[in-house]
Amino acid sequence: MTKSILVVGVGGQGNLLLSRILGDVFLSKGFDVKISEVHGMAQRGGSVVTYVKFGEKIYSPLIEKNEADFILAFEKLEGLRWIDYLKDDGVLILNDYEIPPMSVISGISKYPDVISILEKQNLNYKLVDLNSVVNKLNSSRVMNIALLGYFSKYFDFSEQDWIDAIKRNIKEKFIDINLKAFSFGKEL
């Protein structure tokens, strides 16, 4: 059994950290894990994707079309962009948040109506409002951990497993706010 998770969004949304914490949790549960990250140019507000795979033995760090069990999308358009990578029975978890790309801002193209396009597809998607957590905690930097909280419900690991992984990967002074974001995310 191998499970593949695609984490997509816009550079700067905390994509890497989320993937690392996921990988850490799976490692602590005894799985083989591979994560492939994107650095450099792509991070500067561009489209960003990170691959997380876990299972008994993982070879390629990449996830290819029709292979992802989950897509976690921090941004609506980016979620839509990657849906070819979703397995037929995979789940797309979509943050209800739009960041128009420059091509839209400068009027060359139009931001698509993501939800109505998804409705026409026969696929399983969940819309979550991570911004509500961001507003509650008054920090835009916790969106990723809120998403982690929501996503944790798909696994039967204990809450402590997740909390430990968060603690191992986040600086001491930000742990409290992130643990709050995690539990708010869980309630979404």
Binding site: D24, H39, G40, M41, G45, I99, M102
Partner: protein
């Protein structure tokens, strides 16, 4: 102990375990994190050098003195370091010398796709190539031993998917070695008489290494039950294992020189052998040069870009792509952009207003070539903008004054020599140094003008203004990049004055933790807004236009105030 580690982090760990003493590098994606992780080990001296040539020279010095040393760079950085590389191949080393060089197939963040194996081959330097994080750790340790066994520098060749993937690493203890400096001018002074002898040594070494390659533990055969064999290395090995788990594989870890006997024997076993390697046909050309003909390589696999398990399945097994075109519409692309609040934005806006030919360079400010600015005409390599602007000036019939832009880190890397040349050869150009006080694109590394070392210790801060004056530029001015109108005037004025002039647009990168500011977030007063869309022309990702309503996203705004200065109707206000 088991740990999940980035390939680059595992290289750093391997260096720690190998008791490396000195590391000098220049940042470049995807190699940067090796040196950043090394800086966390207090037992290792580490530094950012102004460029890769200097970095390698530092490592060579340390190695000759008797300590293991490492230098890290990306593939294009190796070009900068090629000069010392080709000669250190002759001198050899005293204690282990390794270059970690990261290639970028697919060009996730590079200007070309060059294959480091070709340069290593030309320099007659062995290459080891890991395929996951634990191999990164083990292979770098092996590389130091190989270096000492054969008196040679060794290249640890990485690629993006190895450098930037995390997989499980088994940690080991630190090992020790004896160090001693022995004066030996016939080995370390490469004047012609001595170099001639060393060239003979290098050729002998190649032969010995070729022999060694046949029995090297890094090269191994994995038994399978396929009727064909596969020769592969690096990340391609992982794709092969995923695509055809039960294949016969010759996995190469020592990639230069290649194991002649091992390859011949392996190829003899099968009717057909596939050679699977990203970028150039490096292994394939060698195999064919042995007179082996039952192989397939670039005749069926692509020369450009990255490979994948699906590609291998498709080409070898004829399994169709998992193509599933769920979407019938085309989505708007999302290219990288200058961040909200970025100081470069104001300068590109001003350059666009003035409308001159502008040579660009490598760094965040390369993004000034994209919409909405389209203010940059060229981007070739680090430091090239100044030389190219000078070339444009000399090529023009009416002594046209071109504009060159460059960042602070890049200016120190290799822009300064271009400036010296321009002054010396009586150029007519305007250089705008976009000084954001950090190495931005690669993630905020220090450099000689930031005033801090890699360990965040204060150090002498190079003064770029004085430096420009010292090399002979009379007109040096420091400008505020956010002040568009004044800058348009200053650029115009500089273009009218003869000679070389420099404008230093100084404002820190807004994302740098040292420069975090209190946010005075801007808002649009939609009652005052006339929907003239001027604010959209500065290309700030925080400002959007949804169905005719201009909005600023508070999560994204970095409160630089640039939008306020372009709105003629005072519709953008500071939020209390």
């Amino acid at each position: 102990m088991k740990k999940l580690m980035l390939g680059n982090e595992a290289v750093a760990r391997g260096c720690y375990e190998a008791s490396v003493k000195v590391v000098s590098s220049y940042p470049g994606t995807p190699s940067t994190e090796i040196t950043e992780y090394i800086a966390k080990y207090d037992d290792i001296y580490s530094e950012w050098a102004p460029n890769e040539k200097v970095a390698l020279e530092v490592a060579i010095g340390a190695s000759i003195y008797g300590k293991r040393a490492l230098s890290c760079m990306k593939h294009v950085g190796l070009n900068v370091a090629a000069d010392p590389l080709f000669t250190v191949s002759y001198t050899g080393i005293n204690k282990g010398l390794v270059l970690a060089v990261a290639d970028d197939p697919g060009m996730h963040s590079s200007q070309n796709e060059q294959d480091t194996r070709m340069i290593a081959k030309a320099a007659k330097v062995p290459i080891v190539e890991p395929s996951d994080s634990d191999e990164c750790r083990r292979f770098v340790k092996f590389a130091f031993k190989l270096s000492e066994m054969y008196d040679t520098p060794v290249i640890l060749r990485l690629t993006t998917r190895v450098s930037h993937s995390q997989s499980i690493v088994e940690l080991e203890d630190r090992e020790d070695y004896q160090s001693e400096y022995i004066k030996d001018i016939s080995k370390y002074v490469m004047m012609p008489a001595m170099a001639r002898k060393r060239h003979i040594f290098v050729e002998e070494r190649e032969k010995l290494l070729s022999e060694f390659a046949n029995n090297c533990e890094l090269n191994r055969i994995e038994k399978g039950d396929t009727s064909f064999g596969i020769i592969t290395s690096g990340i391609s090995y992982q794709y092969v294992k995923e695509a055809i788990p039960n294949a016969w594989i010759l996995k190469l870890g020592l990639v230069n020189p290649l194991p002649q006997k091992l390859i011949k024997d392996f190829c003899n076993k099968f009717e057909k052998v596939y050679i699977i390697e990203e970028l150039d046909p490096f292994i394939e050309n060698y195999v064919r040069s042995l007179g082996i003909t039952n192989v397939h390589g670039k005749d069926i696999f692509p020369l450009c870009g990255e490979y994948s398990a699906q590609l291998i399945k498709k080409v070898i097994l004829g399994v169709e792509d998992n193509k599933c075109d769920k979407l019938s519409i085309e989505l708007p692309i999302r290219t990288p952009v200058l961040c909200p609040g970025c100081p470069h934005r104001g300068i590109f806006y001003a350059i666009k207003k003035v409308g001159t030919i502008t040579t660009g360079d490598i760094g965040c400010y390369t993004l000034g070539a994209l919409k909405p600015f389209e203010a940059i005409d060229t981007c070739v390599c680090m430091g090239a903008s100044i030389g190219m602007a000078h070339g444009i000036n000399k090529a023009s019939d009416n002594n046209e004054k071109a504009v060159a832009v460059i960042g602070d880190s890049t200016f120190i890397h290799s822009g300064i020599t271009g400036l010296i040349n321009a002054v010396y050869n009586k150029s007519n150009l305007l250089l705008i140094i976009l000084d954001n006080s950090t190495t931005g694109m690669t993630g905020h590394q220090e450099h000689p003008a930031t005033g801090f070392t890699i360990k965040n210790e204060p150090t002498y801060m190079l003064n770029i203004v004085e430096l420009c004056k010292t090399v002979g530029v009379d007109n040096v001015d420091v400008i505020d990049p956010y002040n568009i109108n004044e800058n348009v005037e200053k650029i115009k004025k500089s273009l009218e004055t003869k000679g070389v002039s420099v404008l230093i647009a100084k404002a820190p990168c807004r994302l740098h933790k040292r420069f975090r500011i209190d946010k005075k977030i801007r808002q649009v007063d939609n009652k005052k807004c006339k929907n003239c869309k001027m604010c959209l022309s500065i290309g700030c990702p925080a400002i959007s236009n949804k169905d005719g309503i201009i909005k600023i996203d508070e999560n994204l705004c970095f409160s630089c105030g640039l939008c306020q200065s372009v709105c003629k109707f005072g519709a953008i206000i500071t939020k209390e």
